[in-house]
């Protein structure tokens, strides 16, 4: 079974703090994704990565950056957290381009920015 883990289930931070969210997958997947989920807005893609050190902006990259130094690990960074970044953050992985398969999601991190 594919396993995607996220470093924290719940996180509370203050405005202006730098926040790191980490995601690790154990299936040697090529692609990894960061989404945020907000009520009424569904899942919105922040960034994705299709290879080590490669990244692509999603629909809402502003205020976020990412890092993929190793294939199994994809980090989301909030350089200076703001209250409008309070959300559920979901990491996902996928086998890679051309593969008709599902994405596998981690359990999510509920981030609250005060």
């Amino acid at each position: 079974d594919v396993k995607v883990t996220q470093s924290s289930r719940y996180l509370v931070k203050r405005t202006g703090e730098k926040v790191f969210l980490e995601c690790v997958q154990d299936m040697d997947h090529e692609n990894m994704f960061w989404y945020r989920q907000d009520p009424g807005l569904g899942l919105r893609l922040i960034y994705f990565s299709y290879d080590v050190k490669m990244k692509e902006k999603g629909d809402i990259p502003e205020g976020y950056s990412v890092s993929r130094e190793k294939k199994e690990r994809f980090s989301l960074i909030l350089e200076s957290a703001s209250t409008n970044q309070t959300s559920m953050y979901l990491c996902a992985s996928h086998e890679g381009r051309g593969h008709r398969d599902t994405q596998y999601f981690g359990p999510g991190t509920r981030l609250t920015v005060l």
């Binding site: 893609l45 979901l90 996902a92 593969h99 599902t102 509920r110």
Partner: protein
């Protein structure tokens, strides 16, 4: 612009009856569709998928129907059970971007009443 839409934010159904969740898309390049189920404080889990070469795919109590001309898909759950109560997301991708981009709807919250 939302390329995948779920116009019903919520749905309530009696236990044992059929649940029908709907999803519309606008991009004619989409040719692979997925449904995910999400419980609170958990990541989405894959439920069922369908390729555009088919118009129906069945897996136990879950059936997905695809109407390409109408750009519409639906998920049928028969019979509905209380454990089916969750948020359901539909998602779509295209052959060109398979594995690289998934577009999600805003979700439908299903409540199955015992």
């Amino acid at each position: 612009d939302q390329q995948v839409k779920q116009n019903s934010p919520s749905l309530s159904v009696q236990e044992g009856r059929i649940s029908i969740l709907n999803c519309d898309y606008t991009n004619s390049m989409f040719d692979y569709f997925l449904w995910y189920k999400k419980y609170p404080a958990e990541g989405p889990t894959f439920l069922i998928s369908i390729s555009s070469i088919k118009d129906k795919n069945e897996d136990g109590r879950f059936t997905v129907f695809l109407n390409k001309s109408a750009k519409h898909l639906s998920l049928h759950i028969v019979p509905s059970q209380p454990g089916d109560s969750a948020v359901y997301f539909c998602a779509a991708s295209s052959r060109v971007n398979t594995g690289n981009q998934f577009y999600f709807g805003t979700g439908t919250s299903l409540t199955v009443i015992p």
